[in-house]
């Protein structure tokens, strides 16, 4: 990790940035850290437990972070895609941040282990299925060893397909059961690097489109809206699902929509901010089989 630490140290020493956002060893495993002094750079780590999407901390409305000054952020593939999303939506200026890319061969399902697990089909995060980024390209510098492809995990697509194979009534029953656990704590939203509104639609009260009461009706409205607003924007980092305190499989919904925007509009989320998102653009010959 010295390469990462040295890079961070240099950036801070040379005053190119005032804070480096990365990962450190916490009491329960890896966790995000905000290093503001060169001396603390030795705390920086990167291993398979570094699952958090650090782009989340670039939300310009997190004033406690912007107050720290110009930031360098350590990004693996999914983080880099999220940064691209923020750039695409004018939430960041590229010149305003430094991106330290780390080569990533997949991460664990969960950061709370005292040592990085050997990645296997069992331990690797579902998010890594089909991830094509070993080396983020949009970065200012790249550190770490070349990485192998992540182990082939239980295919998220299979689980989506299993649900697709059900009747609507069966899917409805499945999701009602899952969503009935939701307490609308919005941890999924807060953990999402792209959910960065000043005031989320659920917090708009006139009118209150989405009922904040965590009965299944309010929960359906919330999760339908969360997913729709992320359609074509979601980078599939899976942080929403990991953050959920009641284990709602949000990854299934996000994955489904990734499939949909690809099948309908040939869109896959890009690390290039110049590539427009599919919602907000259109083609005159877009499919309209579903329209009478």
């Amino acid at each position: 990790m010295s390469e990462l630490q040295d890079t961070a140290r240099r950036l801070l020493d040379e005053g190119l940035v005032q804070v480096v956002i990365g990962w450190e060893e916490g009491p329960r495993g890896a966790r995000p850290v905000f290093v503001t002094s060169a001396a603390d750079c030795e705390r920086l780590i990167f291993d398979a437990r570094c699952v958090h999407n650090l782009a989340t901390f670039l939300n310009p409305r997190r004033s406690q972070i912007t107050a720290l000054g110009k930031a360098a952020v350590v990004v693996k593939g999914c983080d880099a895609k999220a940064v691209a999303g923020l750039l695409r939506e004018a939430q960041l200026e590229r010149a305003g941040i430094v991106l330290i890319g780390v080569r990533c061969g997949g991460v664990a399902g969960e950061p709370a282990t005292l040592a990085p697990p050997a990645l296997s089909a069992e331990t690797v995060s579902a998010r890594c299925w089909g991830c094509d980024v070993r080396e983020p390209e949009s970065v200012d510098m790249l550190v770490g060893e070349a990485q192998p492809e992540p182990p082939v995990t239980a295919d998220l697509d299979e689980r989506v397909a299993a649900l697709d194979a059900l009747s609507p009534a069966e899917r409805f029953a499945f999701w009602t059961k899952e969503l009935s656990r939701c307490t609308q704590c919005y941890a999924c939203r807060q953990a999402c690097p792209l959910c960065c509104c000043e005031r989320c639609i659920v917090e708009k009260t006139e009118p209150q489109w989405i009922e904040t009461s965590p009965h299944p009706r309010g929960n359906f409205a919330w999760h339908l809206t969360r997913a729709q607003h992320l359609a074509g924007r979601c980078v599939g980092c899976g942080e929403c699902e990991r953050a959920c305190p009641v284990g709602i499989p949000l990854g299934l919904i996000n994955r489904k929509l990734q499939q949909v925007v690809y099948e309908l509009y040939g869109y896959t989320v890009s690390e290039d901010p110049a590539v427009p998102a599919p919602i907000g653009a259109y083609a005159t010959d877009d499919t309209q089989d579903f329209i009478e």
């Binding site: 009491p27 399902g109 689980r159 059961k177 899952e178 704590c185 939203r189 807060q190 953990a191």
Partner: protein, 384 residues
């Protein structure tokens, strides 16, 4: 209360659960969460448990992982109706909620979850007696299950409790060979045992009984010992430090990592803040509900004017710590925390309350000129 403890064999527990189900008495107990969607490739999740109304012993997850959410939801549901309203002619008809809740029992509550109930009772009966909370409390008998300690994030012993604390429990089960040693601490507990006496068996007289009693005690002792190593703080100086360091730069070190999601509050057995919303069902018809809320979100303190007294997450996280360890203790003589450690486990960004308390306590120690952490006097002082 009970002079002589009883034994609840595993079979006895099974029959008890079935009996209750048959009688239509909801029995809430830790049960396997095992939600289908995550079954594939989510073995960790498959081990998760939750408090739930159970209908058979097969569902029970006694002595397994700590349930995802605390018991709170059965006394302060994530959403509950305060009243519904309807226009009638020129006026409005208010239909208040029923408060005659059917009796229910909690079997195998974590002592830290059970202990939270009397702590929250205080705020629920301070200037206004909360009917709904109190009615549910009254309708519920709580049997806790002596805890073997979840992991290093547990710190009940640092907040005047212990893994087998009796506080908030009407009775307690302690694992022993063949089942659980049963003690009761209240008339409610007594009454429940009496009502289902046939499910319980007498502790074998003489040596046999002694053995089980010893087993039970050693189980509790082991747990007590294990948790003690996790954290110890001097609440006196901790409060004092908090009281004098509202603007300490220390807080700026906590905010950045925090997502402001309030998962900590959702899973917390003692967090009790709620939001009140009106939900129309149609024209001239609607429902007023109260829903869980949390001081960790930016809108919690947002004024209509647009001003927000808690500007950033630093201030919001400070609020969480100060309310639990300064404000509530000063007002109600109780720390608003039972050391269950759920917040640390659930936090998506690894914010760790035990770590933070230790950190503050160390700073407090320096301020207080004292050296070592956790002097014994603290507990007595706060308890008295």
């Amino acid at each position: 209360m009970s002079e002589r403890a009883l034994l609840l064999t595993h079979d006895g527990l099974a029959t008890l659960v079935e009996e209750l189900a048959a009688a239509g008495t909801p029995a809430v107990a830790p049960a396997w969460a095992g939600d289908a969607g995550r079954a594939a490739g989510a073995s960790a999740a498959a081990r998760e448990t939750e408090y739930r109304t159970v209908s058979g012993a097969a569902e029970l997850a006694f002595g397994e992982r700590l349930p995802r959410l605390s018991l709170k939801q059965f006394f302060l549901p994530p959403t509950e109706v305060l009243f519904s309203w309807r226009r009638v002619g020129g006026g409005v008809e208010l239909i208040p909620p029923p408060t005659d809740f059917a009796a229910q029992v909690v079997l195998g509550a974590r002592p830290c979850d059970a202990a939270a109930l009397p702590i929250v009772d205080k705020v629920m009966n301070w200037d206004y007696a909360d009917e709904l909370w109190n009615a549910r409390r009254a309708a519920t008998t709580v049997f806790s299950l002596a805890c073997g300690v979840e992991d290093d994030s547990c710190f009940c012993s640092a907040v005047f409790l212990e893994p087998a604390a009796a506080r908030g429990s009407d009775g307690r089960l302690t694992p022993v060979d063949g089942g659980y040693l049963v003690e009761t601490f209240s008339d409610k507990g007594e009454a429940f045992v009496a009502a289902h006496r046939e499910s319980f068996t007498d502790l074998p007289a003489g040596a046999g009984g002694e053995v089980l009693a010893v087993q039970a005690e050693s189980f509790r002792a082991t747990a007590r010992e294990r948790v003690a190593g996790n954290l110890a703080v001097d609440h006196g100086r901790l409060r004092d430090w908090l009281d004098h360091h509202f603007d300490d730069p220390f807080w700026a070190g906590l905010g950045p990592r925090c997502n402001g999601c309030g998962v900590c509050a959702s899973v917390c057995p003692t967090c009790h803040c709620f939001d009140i919303v009106d939900e129309p069902e149609s024209v001239g018809r609607g429902v007023r509900r109260r829903n869980w809320d949390t001081c960790q979100t930016c809108v919690f303190t947002l004024h209509a004017s647009g001003h927000n007294p808690r500007q950033d997450q630093n201030a919001r996280f400070r609020q969480r710590v100060e309310h639990k360890f300064l404000v509530y203790p000063l007002k109600f003589g109780d720390v608003l925390c039972t050391g269950c450690g759920r917040c640390s486990r659930a936090c998506p960004t690894g914010q760790d309350l035990a770590e933070i308390l230790a950190d503050i306590d160390a700073r407090a120690a320096i301020d207080a000129g004292a050296g070592a952490v956790g002097d014994e006097g603290a507990a007595d002082e706060a308890a008295s």
